[in-house]
Homo-oligomer: 312 residues x 2
């Protein structure tokens, strides 16, 4: 969850930290860091009014999500969770009962995915902040840097649902039979740990769709040093997304490409290895490491997207 | 670094999380959680205006401290650092140059203690918050729950220095030849990783002095199910603390017992194993798990301390 709007700062901070040495196989820049021999660690900060809002999510939902987004990073490495720790800053209006409700949501997610929360820290703060760190194991972690020229770019599941759910929660007037599923998608994302472990043995590169396919495909391109082309017409839409995008006055492919927080897995693999769990949405070509788009809205809606700061 | 003023909340949250299962040997309640087979993990949240102040510390100091306090938790387990991850929330007035300076301080601490920062997350936030998580290894982690009746309670180094440094930074007028050392103690604590690894093979129980000996001795007593008696007259004072305490109108033993953030190691061990690196400050007795005090100020200054909420 990057919300500073600038990847430049992260690159600058990574440069200050330098090369981590032999005990660390892959450090900053992937979904998680890979420690020797098979240990994987990821951390994500969830900030009230930046990543979550109490007007649209319960505190239990927020607790769930804070862990789920980290587990999605493990999923994207093909890792299995070992344990999590939680550092919690309680905002002024956040009482003990709220903290307990937040932990109930954390616990529900921890139980669902077999990732015990084993430690933490609690402090007062100016707003609710939750930093979860997860540790996992992956015998063969799959990085985002392995995409090869000629690979197909594919995605699990469906896109746009979290963003559609968010808009409905914020009051967009659409009578949708899919409202409950869209809202659930936004409030309680489901990290794809099992799919990630299976795909790790099949794909060349993998990352999770946290900020939207448009941003995450750019990360894939940059990490792998390849050009990526995404076909907006090929993006698999969650049921109901089409109607919500229309009500918001946006083309569905653009909506699904920019809408973040779907926590699907974005992969690059040889076309022969495509299976029914994946939808092909683009391809890997030789060229400058950047993402280009084809399909409806590619020019009007996403031209130059590669050079824009991403949404939070 | 507990700053909610109530341990009740932490106990309640720990109960919600439940028992973590077989892969986790020791979870919430020690300095760090112990994962099977020899992995240790700890997390601490540093919040601006709660744990650190930009009026008294540079942002580089804050970066150093955010990692150092976590490394002190590893030291208290007798663990060796493997890697750290950092989740950073940038407050409104905190620019990219500030973030870079903070990372310079983090990096300096990471290099000093051989703990590479391998990943992180950056977001905007209402105030500066830094959640550092450290992972370490300990073949034989030393818990705070092992104190035995008849043990001596002892502490490494000296106490009160960080609190004295803080008061000097906040403007307390004392002409001290030790000002620079006291201020450095507050701004850049030095986690005792080497001492911790050595003591792990010698002592029955160990924890770090983060909130002050009075609080931390209570934790030792509660975790071990024993009574602990602390002699305020026996506390080793850092040079200059006596004068600062006097200027602040406080008895030195009480000052050193309550002043937090010294990051010394508090241990329980058989008296025959005491060595010159340790100062005996109390003993372990049969009785209710609580801490009692003797020496100057024990009645007036610390009576009933066991039942008070601790300072942050």
């Amino acid at each position: 969850m990057v919300a500073v709007g600038e990847f430049d700062l992260i690159a600058r901070l990574a440069a200050i930290l330098g090369s981590p040495g032999a005990a660390v196989l892959t450090a900053i820049g992937d979904d998680a860091a890979v420690l020797a021999p098979d240990l994987v660690v990821a951390t994500d900060l969830v900030v009230e009014d930046v990543h979550v809002r109490r007007s649209t999510s319960s505190v239990a939902d927020i607790g769930w999500k804070a862990l789920a987004v980290n587990l999605s990073d493990l999923a994207a490495m093909g890792a299995q969770p070992v344990a999590a720790v939680v550092a919690l800053g309680l905002g002024p209006g956040f009482g003990d009962d709220d903290a307990a409700a937040l932990y109930e949501g954390l616990r529900a997610c921890a139980d669902t995915y077999g990732c015990p929360v084993v430690g933490g820290d609690v402090s007062r703060a100016a707003q609710l902040v939750i930093a979860v760190t997860v540790i996992g194991r992956a015998s063969e972690p799959r990085l985002r840097s392995g995409a090869r020229i000629g690979d197909v770019v594919a995605v699990t599941g469906s896109l746009g649902g979290s963003e559609a759910g968010r808009l409905l929660l914020e009051g967009l007037a659409v009578a949708s039979p899919h409202e409950a599923e869209l809202v659930a998608r936004h409030r309680r994302p489901l990290p794809l740990l099992v799919a990630g472990q299976r795909l790790a043995g099949v794909v060349h590169a993998m990352l999770d769709v946290s900020d939207g396919v448009a941003s995450d495909a750019r990360r894939l391109a940059e990490a792998s040093g390849v050009a990526v082309e995404i076909d907006l017409d090929a993006l698999p839409l969650q049921a109901g997304v089409q109607e919500v995008a229309a009500a918001a006055g946006r083309l569905p492919g653009v909506f699904a490409a920019i809408g973040g927080e779907d926590y699907e897995l974005l992969v690059a693999l040889p076309s022969a290895r495509l299976d029914p769990s994946l939808t092909a949405i683009g391809r890997v070509r030789a060229g400058e490491p950047a993402v280009t788009f084809v399909g409806a809205g590619a020019v009007a809606g996403l031209a130059g997207y590669d050079h824009l700061a991403v949404r939070s």
